[in-house]
C-alpha cells in the first residue's frame, strides 16, 4: 500500500511545480497518474479493491481497500447536504474511473433534480471524473430506476453505476437491493446507492456510509477566508467486509486522491489585492534533495 504523505507546505510547493511542468509538457503529473496494482490489472477488470491511500479509511476493510464490483450505499442526513454526498460519490467514482475503463451510469429519480439539483459536468470534471464518460439516466419511477441500475451493472462497458434517490423508496427493499448486489457481483461493475436524507431502511449493500460535510479547519473567525479542500466526515455505519468506524477525509484536486485532513490554513492563491495571505505563501522554502 502506498500511503500518500501528509501534505506540508514544502510538499505542496513541490506538487505545484511538478504539475506546472506537467502542464507545459502536456501530460498528467506523475503523482496524478494512478496505477492499477499489477496483480489484478492482468485480468482487465482493474483492481478488486480501491486503495484510497488514507490508512484510516482503507484499514476499515478486511483486506486493505474498499471492495469493487459490489453494492455500496451512501446516505446523508438531510437533502441540503446533497453537495457533500455528491462530492464523496464523485471522489470515489473519480478514483474508480481512473483505474478502470468504461462509462459511469448515473441513474436519477423522476424528479430527482428538484430537491438537490442535477449533477453539474464541470463540477464532476474538477473531481477528475470526465463528464464525457458519464451517461445520465432519468427514470420515470423507482421500479424503472432499479431496472436501469440492474441493466447497467451487468453491461460490459460500464465501470460504475450510481443510483440516486431521496429517502428510502419502498420499492428498494431487502429483496430488490439483494438482487442488485448479486447482479453487481456477477457483472463486475461497482454500484452505489446515493440516498439523500436516507433513513435507516435496511438494504443488502455491503457498506453504508453516512456522509456529512466537514467544516474546513482553521481559525475561529474565517469570514472572507478561502474554503480550502472539500472534506467529509465519513461514518461507516455498516460494513460486511470489515468493521464500522468513522474517518475524516479530504479530497486533493491536484493529486486526484483522498487525503487525511491536515487542518492547515488554506493557502490563498496569490492575488494582488485579495484578502491577506496565509503564512507560508510567497516565501522561498528549501527542501531536501532526494
Amino acid at each position: 500500500m502506498v500511503a500518500v504523505p501528509r501534505p506540508d507546505p514544502d510538499r505542496t510547493r513541490l506538487v505545484e511545480l511538478r504539475s506546472r511542468i506537467a502542464a507545459l509538457e502536456g501530460r498528467l503529473s506523475s503523482e496524478a497518474q494512478l496505477q492499477p496494482d499489477p496483480a489484478s490489472a492482468a485480468n482487465g477488470q482493474g483492481p478488486a479493491r480501491l486503495l484510497t491511500g488514507v490508512a484510516g479509511f482503507d484499514g476499515l476493510f478486511a483486506a486493505a481497500g474498499m471492495p469493487c464490483g459490489t453494492l455500496h450505499e451512501a446516505t446523508s442526513a438531510e437533502s441540503r447536504s446533497g453537495g457533500a454526498l455528491t462530492g464523496f460519490a464523485a471522489a470515489l467514482l473519480s478514483c474508480l474511473a481512473a483505474r478502470r475503463t468504461g462509462a459511469v451510469l448515473w441513474v436519477m429519480e423522476p424528479d430527482g433534480g428538484r430537491e438537490t439539483g442535477s449533477p453539474n459536468a464541470e463540477g464532476l470534471a474538477r473531481f477528475g471524473l470526465d463528464p464525457a464518460r458519464v451517461v445520465l439516466v432519468r427514470a420515470r419511477c423507482v421500479a424503472e430506476m432499479l431496472w436501469a441500475v440492474e441493466e447497467g451493472v451487468q453491461a460490459k462497458g460500464v465501470c460504475a453505476v450510481v443510483a440516486e434517490m431521496r429517502g428510502a423508496p419502498r420499492a428498494l427493499d431487502l429483496t430488490a437491493s439483494r438482487r442488485l448486489l448479486l447482479r453487481a457481483e456477477a457483472g463486475g461493475a461497482t454500484a452505489f446507492l446515493l440516498r439523500h436524507a436516507g433513513g435507516a431502511a435496511p438494504t443488502a449493500a455491503v457498506t453504508r456510509f453516512r456522509i456529512a460535510a466537514r467544516p474546513s479547519g482553521g481559525r475561529e473567525d474565517r469570514r472572507l477566508a478561502p474554503l480550502g479542500r472539500p472534506g467529509w466526515r465519513v461514518e461507516l455505519q455498516r460494513n460486511r467486509d470489515g468493521r464500522p468506524g468513522t474517518v475524516e477525509l479530504e479530497w486533493d484536486h491536484a493529486m486526484r486522491s483522498f487525503a487525511a485532513p491536515a487542518d492547515r490554513e488554506p493557502v490563498v492563491p496569490r492575488t494582488g489585492d485579495g484578502p491577506a495571505g496565509a503564512p507560508g505563501t510567497g516565501r522561498v522554502v528549501a527542501f531536501a534533495r532526494r
Binding site: T12, S19, G113, G123, P131, A132, L136, A213, P226
Partner: protein, 510 residues
C-alpha cells in the same frame, strides 16, 4: 349530419334511408324537416371525422405504404406494384371487365373489410389518380346498392369507355368553371375531352386542360403520402389473428431476420425501426425505436422492441388480435464491420451502445443523456443534456485531463439548481459577500467565503440591460458549501430609488 353554411343549418351528409325519402345533400334542414318531421340529425364534428379518416388511412397502410388523404372524405392509395400480392391462385388473370385479378382482389378485400367495420365505402381502381377519383365519386350508383360498399375498376388503357359518360364535375374542377361549361352546353366529359385544347384553355383557364391531361395520363399526378415511405419493410399476414405477446415476439424476430438479409445486401444497418401492428378492428399500433449505431442483428432488434412493448405495459392492447404485423426500417446507415481487437475497447463501446439503446427503448430516448459542453459562460447554459443515442461522442470534450495546481479553488459546483432559488440574504453593503442567508426556511451563517466572481448575462439577448451577477462560494457552520449570487447591486442612482438586489442560490459544493 348537419352543419351551418351561409347562415342556415344544411344537411351535409345523409344515409341511404334518408336518400330514399328524396332528401338531398345541401338542402336546408328546415325544408327536409317540413316534409319528414321524424328526421334524426346531429351536428357535424370535423375534427373527429378527420381523426377517423387518419385512422382509416393508417389502416390502409396494409395495402401500400403510399396513402394520401384526399380532401376530407377520401383516401388515395398508390397500389403500383402492390396489387399482385393480393391475387389469389386459381383466379383468372382478368375478369369480365378487364381489370387484372390482383387489383380486383385488393379492392374487394378493402371494401369487404371496411364493410365489416361498418363503413359504406366506394372505391375505384384506375390508371391515373384523376380517373380513379372521377369514377369513385361520380360513377352512377348500381341499382339496389345505393350507399353500400361499391367498387369499380377501369382496365388498363380503357379509361375512355368508362369515363366519357361521367358529368363534367368528375374532372375535379371549381364550381365556377363547371357552371361556365354548363352554360355553353358542355356537361359530360365526352364533350370536352377531344376538343381542341387552345380554345378551351383560353376560355375556361389552363386548369381545365391540366385536369384533362391528368385524366388521360398525359400529365403525371403524384400523390403526397401521409407517412414517409420506409426504406425496407417486411410484413406477415395471419389468417387467424395473433394476440399473445410471445407470438408477437416470434413474428418480430422472423421479420427482423428477413430485414437483416436485405440490410446486409445493401451493406447497411438500421438506425430507426418501426413496428406496425394492424388490429383486426382496424386500429393500427405503431411503435418506433431508435438505435445509437447501425444495427441489423435480429435478436437485438427484437430486444429493443421487447423493451418498448414492456414499457407500454397496459397501454399495449391487443384487442381481438393482430392480423398483420409489419416491421420497417425508417432510417439506415452504412454498416461498418469492425474486427474485434485484443484491447476489448471496441467491445466495450459496443456493449455500452447496446445498453444505451436498451435503456432508451424502455425509458424514452431523451431520458438517457450525456453532457454536451456549450459555449456560454452562464452556468445554467454551459451544459446541455443530449440523448446519448444520438450524440457523437467525439463532441464531448470536457478537458478534465488538465492538471490543476494545488489549492486552486473549485470554481463550479457539483450540483446545479436550475432555476436558481431565491434566498433572503444579509450582506455587506454595497458589494460585499453574504453574512447569513435563509434558504428553504432554514437559516445559514456564513463561516467562510470566496468571491466574488462577476458574470454578466449576454446583453444582446434581452431588451433590458441585464443585471450582473456576483457569485460567492460560501461555507456554513457545519461545512456545507453553497453557490450564491447577487443579481444587481445596492444602488441609489440620481433620481432612482434605492433598489435592493436579489440573492439566489444556484449550486451545491462538496
Amino acid at each position: 349530419m348537419i352543419a351551418t353554411r351561409k347562415g342556415t343549418e344544411r344537411i351535409v351528409a345523409l344515409n341511404a334511408a334518408a336518400r330514399a325519402l328524396g332528401i338531398l345533400a345541401g338542402e336546408p334542414l328546415a325544408d327536409a324537416r317540413a316534409r319528414h318531421p321524424g328526421l334524426a340529425s346531429d351536428a357535424q364534428a370535423p375534427a373527429e371525422e378527420a381523426a377517423l379518416l387518419a385512422a382509416l388511412a393508417d389502416w390502409c397502410d396494409r395495402y401500400t405504404p403510399l396513402v394520401a388523404l384526399d380532401s376530407d372524405d377520401g383516401l388515395l392509395l398508390d397500389i403500383t406494384g402492390c396489387a399482385h400480392l393480393f391475387a389469389r391462385d386459381g383466379a383468372g388473370a382478368t375478369q369480365d371487365d378487364g381489370l387484372p385479378a390482383g387489383e380486383r382482389a385488393l379492392m374487394d378485400d378493402c371494401l369487404r373489410r371496411l364493410g365489416d367495420q361498418g363503413f359504406a365505402a366506394r372505391a375505384a381502381v384506375a390508371d391515373t389518380p384523376a380517373a380513379a377519383w372521377a369514377l369513385a365519386r361520380h360513377a352512377p350508383e348500381p341499382d339496389g346498392l345505393a350507399g353500400a360498399a361499391a367498387g369499380a375498376g377501369i382496365a388498363p388503357g380503357a379509361w375512355r369507355d368508362a369515363l366519357v359518360a361521367l358529368p363534367i364535375a368528375a374532372l375535379r374542377l371549381e364550381e365556377a368553371t363547371v357552371d361556365a361549361l354548363a352554360r355553353v352546353g358542355l356537361t359530360r366529359i365526352a364533350d370536352v375531352v377531344d376538343r381542341p385544347r387552345g380554345p378551351l384553355a383560353s376560355r375556361f383557364g389552363r386548369e381545365l386542360v391540366r385536369r384533362i391531361d391528368r385524366l388521360r395520363g398525359d400529365e403525371a399526378e403524384p400523390i403526397s403520402p401521409r407517412l414517409a415511405v420506409p426504406l425496407l419493410a417486411a410484413d406477415r399476414r395471419f389468417f387467424e389473428p395473433i394476440s399473445r405477446e410471445e407470438d408477437v415476439r416470434g413474428v418480430i424476430l422472423a421479420l427482423a431476420e428477413r430485414l437483416s438479409r436485405d440490410l446486409e445486401r445493401r451493406g447497411e444497418g438500421g438506425r430507426a425501426f418501426e413496428l406496425a401492428l394492424f388490429r383486426v378492428d382496424g386500429v393500427v399500433n405503431r411503435v418506433t425505436v431508435g438505435t445509437s449505431r447501425a444495427l441489423r442483428e435480429p435478436a437485438r432488434v427484437l430486444g429493443l422492441f421487447a423493451e418498448r412493448l414492456a414499457a407500454l405495459g397496459d397501454d399495449f392492447d391487443a384487442g381481438f388480435g393482430f392480423d398483420l404485423v409489419r416491421l420497417c426500417v425508417l432510417e439506415a446507415q452504412r454498416f461498418e464491420a469492425v474486427q474485434s481487437d485484443f484491447t476489448q475497447a471496441g467491445e466495450q463501446t459496443e456493449a455500452l451502445d447496446a445498453l444505451i439503446d436498451r435503456l432508451g427503448a424502455r425509458l424514452g430516448i431523451a431520458r438517457v443523456a450525456r453532457f454536451l459542453p456549450c459555449d456560454s459562460h452562464l452556468p445554467e447554459a454551459r451544459q446541455k443534456l443530449v440523448p446519448a443515442a444520438l450524440v457523437d461522442t467525439t463532441a464531448l470534450v470536457w478537458c478534465s485531463e488538465t492538471p490543476v495546481a494545488p489549492d486552486t479553488p473549485q470554481l463550479r459546483p457539483l450540483r446545479l439548481i436550475d432555476p436558481p432559488e431565491p434566498v433572503e440574504a444579509v450582506a455587506m453593503v454595497p458589494e460585499g459577500p453574504p453574512l447569513r442567508f435563509r434558504w428553504r426556511r432554514a437559516l445559514y451563517e456564513v463561516r467562510a467565503c470566496e468571491g466574488p466572481e462577476r458574470l454578466v448575462p449576454p446583453w444582446w439577448q434581452s431588451p433590458q440591460p441585464p443585471q450582473a451577477r456576483d457569485y460567492y462560494r460560501v461555507e456554513d457552520g457545519e461545512g456545507r458549501r453553497f453557490w450564491l449570487y447577487r443579481e444587481g447591486f445596492y444602488e441609489a442612482d440620481a433620481g432612482v430609488e434605492l433598489r435592493a438586489p436579489r440573492w439566489f442560490l444556484q449550486g451545491l459544493y462538496a
